[in-house]
Subunit: 333 residues, 2 copies
Amino acid sequence: MSSSYAVLEEIGRYILRARRIAIVTHERPDADALGSSLGLAHALRHIGKEATVFSFDSVPFGLHFLPGIETIVADLPGPETDLVVAVDAGEPSQIGDRLYNAIIRLGVPLLVVDHHESNVGYGTLSAIFPERASTAEVIFSLLQVMEIPPDAAVATCLLAGIVFDTRAFAIPDTGPETLETAATLMRYGGSLYDVMTAYRGQHPLKALRLWGEALTRLETQDGVAWTVVSQDMYRTTDTAMEDTEGLANFILDAADVRISLVFRERPAGGPIRVSGRAKPGINLVPLARSYPKGGGHKMAVGFEIPLPLDEAVRTALKRLEELRRSGRLDDSP
Amino acid sequence: MSSSYAVLEEIGRYILRARRIAIVTHERPDADALGSSLGLAHALRHIGKEATVFSFDSVPFGLHFLPGIETIVADLPGPETDLVVAVDAGEPSQIGDRLYNAIIRLGVPLLVVDHHESNVGYGTLSAIFPERASTAEVIFSLLQVMEIPPDAAVATCLLAGIVFDTRAFAIPDTGPETLETAATLMRYGGSLYDVMTAYRGQHPLKALRLWGEALTRLETQDGVAWTVVSQDMYRTTDTAMEDTEGLANFILDAADVRISLVFRERPAGGPIRVSGRAKPGINLVPLARSYPKGGGHKMAVGFEIPLPLDEAVRTALKRLEELRRSGRLDDSP
């Protein structure tokens, strides 16, 4: 269920009454988490608030361009804090125990702004808009309700959230209002070009060499395409597991592919990590759930197989075939 | 220089007076050429005109989803034609001699609608808007001026022109008005998702295997990344030259690449065909112009080198290095 604008107005009143505002987000923050947090912090500073983003995590490759990224504090908010806003975090555990416990000990209001349908509705007040493709769009609505016009820095931060969370406007959730918000942010000085360049440039060249090795190993049957990334391939290309990010989506984009699977060894060993992607009409969740650490959405899942690489591929393809045949992966609208 | 809306109004008056309208575009038509032509044809049929798109070329891979693509006629417009609209074609020669000569022989008005700055302004009347990222946006303005609301088919055709010509909103020319037009077309029922899926799915899986072979051969020095596609690589992956489309852009996207070069043998032999791409601040035109058939824009050029593959790579890199050192590739704004 979606929150109403009345909640955003109430959140605005909390913010106006506060002086020192801590902004937190989920662990291993992505572009929407960081862009929404920083965009809100910039905007609140414009109206005279002391606003600080707290995160213990390192900034992911390619997001250092976000205006104000260097202002993020890897510490706990101090006792002077009189309001906390949690952004893009679906549940307390995602904020991380250390930070969340510190927030609770502060005993100040905790406001939640998010777009995840799975958001459990924690905190003093929560504004959750699952029909929005990104939390950045919800932050933009909040700023509109509060009548704070974004400057170029705010606009670029929020554009980053929109672009990265929509796979650059490619996911089905991208609505006309998504494009309209992006256009408005450009009119406020946000640079779509900088954000798109960052989105497309999430990999260094050596990652493309790793992708090359994986793509030459592509196999396919009945619209399913799969490949492997072995420890040996990381070694020869001087890459790490994070360099495989996006590969399963890239393979899925091929015109004649309905399902893509990427089987990755970890550089340090352990179970095989599998990424699965599907085109609309297919639900991969039953496949993912049948394995350890399986989860995700219909069209994007991850799971683990505690077997050697070759065996992992063989058994997963067999199980996929069984589930498909029994109709359990069908997702008719 | 950009045309004014008055020209669109006059074009609208020509169209209203006509009964049988032929629409033509450039040879080897891309998504903007076909989407703009078909979108205009659909819209004119809604107001009772007989509108036909003429083209002798086959539809490129991935564009068969365009609504009405099967209505394109591979013939010359007949004597019953009383108006011709040329769409997305910068000069008469791009329409092709056979079609253009037939149009001239008809002796009816020829209206030109385009967004290319290089458009020479031929025809009875020409509406050229170089500040638009696509001709589809100009067609949309024409329909607005004529007060013809697009239906879903028109909207999807025009969205295709916008998305493909802007590299899915990634080129610097993408302005807020581009996003606003796309949003409006979605509200008229256009499917951005279908268009984005077509844009990303321009390759079959076997093309990704060819890319894999090319990416494993990537070399790099001083921000320049290059690779080769040999006849042998086409053979082992069962691919053709068209399957390399997009590869140079893909390599350029890597965060640590400033210039990308892809050297391609042709399956049938002949000079090496080179695609060059650059990030902003670099102008590759002097490099391209120093070779046969060299041309393009600052950040996207093509040229030919009549040498064996290895030698072509060696000499082009040497010339690139010389031009860079002498500052002749600098493009300071």
